[in-house]
Symmetry: C2
Amino acid sequence: MTHPSVIRPADHAAYAPDKMGKTTIFESARLLVGLNAFEPGQEHSLHAHAGQDKVYHVLEGEGVFLLETQELSMVAGDLLVAPEGVPHGVRNTGESRLLVLAILAPSPVRT
Amino acid sequence: MTHPSVIRPADHAAYAPDKMGKTTIFESARLLVGLNAFEPGQEHSLHAHAGQDKVYHVLEGEGVFLLETQELSMVAGDLLVAPEGVPHGVRNTGESRLLVLAILAPSPVRT
């Protein structure tokens, strides 16, 4: 039986010149583990997920994270939870790349 | 409305002299975000969760992670997924403390 093995998240980062890059590391019905990769100046605008909690964990760089009406400065190592229904977003306000681990539970419904 | 704010995981680590220390950072029905804190030599023996996926993310230190029959060396920054039903465990084989972010989805049933 094949299982996931050790993952070095940064090896899976996919940056894109036009918008935030997204990568999926693991996905089941219960859980999605992904990466959001931001070039300087890129952002993911405020949005919400009904019935899904999201965990952001900053792996590299720094940025401003939006959580409802709050703007929170975060650096590598910091973690933020956006509970279901709470609007959240990210802006790379730094001068270097921003890499964020994004975990959603349960997994988004694919249509 | 009060929401979680920026979390610096290491600030919440709880080490114990007799066994692995556990801390809960966030919990809902969908998700549990916690910390497993290991002094040198401490371990969490092989166990499995029916119907729950677990993500391990090493924050500090190094150790051996067990995934079914595999023994995987992991260091800070490395990530491992134990899908539901797959036995997993942790041994701090290093000379310093091992701090691991442990995310379970859905949350364990509390009895």
